[in-house]
């Protein structure tokens, strides 16, 4: 293959791995925070299991503030915090910090809306059987919402992936980094094209996988 030099191929391979590494770990960490936060939002919000307008509006406010900050700005603002945690603000490991912070509020809203889709009659039935709130969360809300939650994971992952490409501007590693350094700064259109195509392929795979699993796990007909 003379289209790409061995060095370029090696670089692209490394880029793919870095992108997958950043995206998957950031998604995982963002769910650690976003999932419980989404559950709390869903149960303290309107029509929730344990309504609490104070908790709901305080958490909602924090989520909205973080969500309205543009990712690039957040990325730069968080540099001192990232240094504190990882020791550096450059490279793919460092990028995981701002990615996680940027994604968890978004994920919390995704989780909240998935849980709100669960039929209130089913929750009432569980209530009538003497379920504790904890049991309703673990055994009713989350399992009943699982296919919607899974679609949410696919959406969250692809969003994080596109954020990770933006991190290339501050030396974040991954495919986005390559696109910016070679495709943009040196105007090598070949590299630009390759990275963009690779990003599209990865997004497609994640999206399709999410859809497939979500359908497979859903025992409720698609009409309801």
């Amino acid at each position: 293959m003379d289209f790409l030099s061995p060095k370029e191929i090696e670089m692209i391979q490394k880029g793919i791995l870095e992108t997958l590494y950043m995206t998957s770990l950031s998604t995982l960490f963002a769910y650690f925070i976003g999932l419980p936060l989404g559950v709390v939002l869903a149960i303290t919000g309107k029509g929730g299991l344990k309504r609490n307008p104070v908790i709901y509006s305080v958490l909602g406010f924090i989520v909205n503030v973080l969500r309205s900050a543009p990712f690039l700005i957040l990325l730069v603002t968080l540099i001192p915090f990232t240094r504190l945690i990882v020791g550096t603000s450059i490279g793919s490991t460092a990028t995981i910090v701002p990615l996680t912070i940027a994604a968890f509020p978004f994920i919390a809203r995704l989780v909240e809306s998935s849980l709100k889709e669960v039929d209130s009659g089913v929750v009432e039935a569980a209530d009538s059987m003497g379920s504790t709130r904890w049991q309703i969360i673990w055994k009713v809300l989350l399992p009943e919402a699982r296919s919607s939650l899974l679609l949410g994971v696919a959406i969250a992952t692809t969003t994080i992936l596109s954020y990770s490409a933006m991190a290339g501007f501050v030396g974040g590693g991954g495919l986005g980094d390559i696109a910016i350094r070679f495709g943009y700064y040196r105007w090598q259109q070949k590299m630009m094209l390759i990275t963009v195509i690779l990003l599209i392929i990865i997004v497609q795979i994640i999206q399709e996988l999410g859809l497939f699993l979500s359908k497979k796990l859903n025992k409720k007909r698609s009409d309801g």
């Binding site: 009432e124 009538s128 059987m129 003497g130 379920s131 055994k139 025992k219 409720k220 309801g224």
Partner: protein, 255 residues
């Protein structure tokens, strides 16, 4: 023997920013143990709120509810959960867990009261057999008909061996033939297990088919309370201002 359920001066109002709605305005009602008791009324009469006061899904604004002699107003949450486990409830739209099989649905109440898995499965299978759909144990609700779903719901409601079964418009989403099969099942179960059954409905035929006693609820109060006999339909029709309809139908209204 103590009455299974007593409602004494129960009121319930729902407050919103705009207005206060009084759903129940002083309900007095006694259901004896083993009775099949019908609560009939038009939509919006407060029937659903009334039945939800019995298992405290709605807390009465004032008044007291007694279940098997126990007053419910002072119960701690843990006691309340225990009480709910001794009262089964079924619904108009079945409210099955869509992501669990029929068996999984019946196992749910056993799981939450701490049964071990094998025992719970065994008991759930027995219950499905009792309601006549053992062959559907591994089917998901989406694969079942309305009548089958309600059978699963009944099996689930009976899992913790309740002494009381509450039915909230349980046959309103079913066709007439299925309605009577389900009513017959409820009646048989009541006899076999000594269950006290409270049936909320807007259909007189349902009351006539299986209830021994009934209460007519209108505007949040009990308008009439008595046994289901030949005059039952006349009483209900008169109370809801439907005597003209009865005349049109040729005095007998059971078509």
């Amino acid at each position: 023997m103590k009455p299974a359920i007593i409602l004494s001066g129960v009121t319930k109002s729902f407050r919103s920013k705009k207005a206060t709605v009084e759903a129940l305005r002083g309900i007095d009602l006694t259901v004896e143990s083993g009775q099949i008791f019908g609560v009939i009324g038009l939509s919006g009469a407060g029937k659903s709120t009334l039945v939800r006061c019995i298992n405290q899904l709605e807390k009465p604004t004032s008044g007291e509810v007694y279940v098997n002699g126990q007053a419910l107003s002072g119960l701690k949450r843990s006691q309340l959960l225990k009480l709910r486990r001794s009262i089964g409830m079924i619904f108009q739209h079945f409210n099955l867990l869509n992501q669990r099989t029929a068996l999984g649905n019946v196992r749910y109440p056993l799981e939450i009261s701490g049964w071990d898995k094998d025992k719970a499965t065994k008991k759930a299978l027995e219950l499905l057999d009792r309601v006549g759909i053992a062959d559907k144990a591994n089917a998901y609700p989406a694969e079942l008909s309305g009548g089958q779903k309600q059978r699963v719901a009944i099996a689930r409601a009976l899992a913790n061996d309740p002494s009381i079964l509450l039915c909230d418009e349980a046959t309103s989403a079913l066709d007439p033939a299925t309605t009577f099969q389900i009513l017959k099942l409820i009646k048989d179960l009541s006899t076999q297990l000594g269950l006290t059954v409270v049936i909320i409905t807007h259909e007189m035929l349902v009351v006539k088919a299986i209830c021994s006693h009934f209460a007519l609820v209108e505007d949040g109060v009990v308008k009439y309370n008595g046994v289901v006999d030949d005059d039952f339909e006349k009483i209900v029709f008169n109370a809801i201002g439907g005597s003209e309809i009865l005349e049109l139908l040729g005095t007998k209204g059971d078509s």
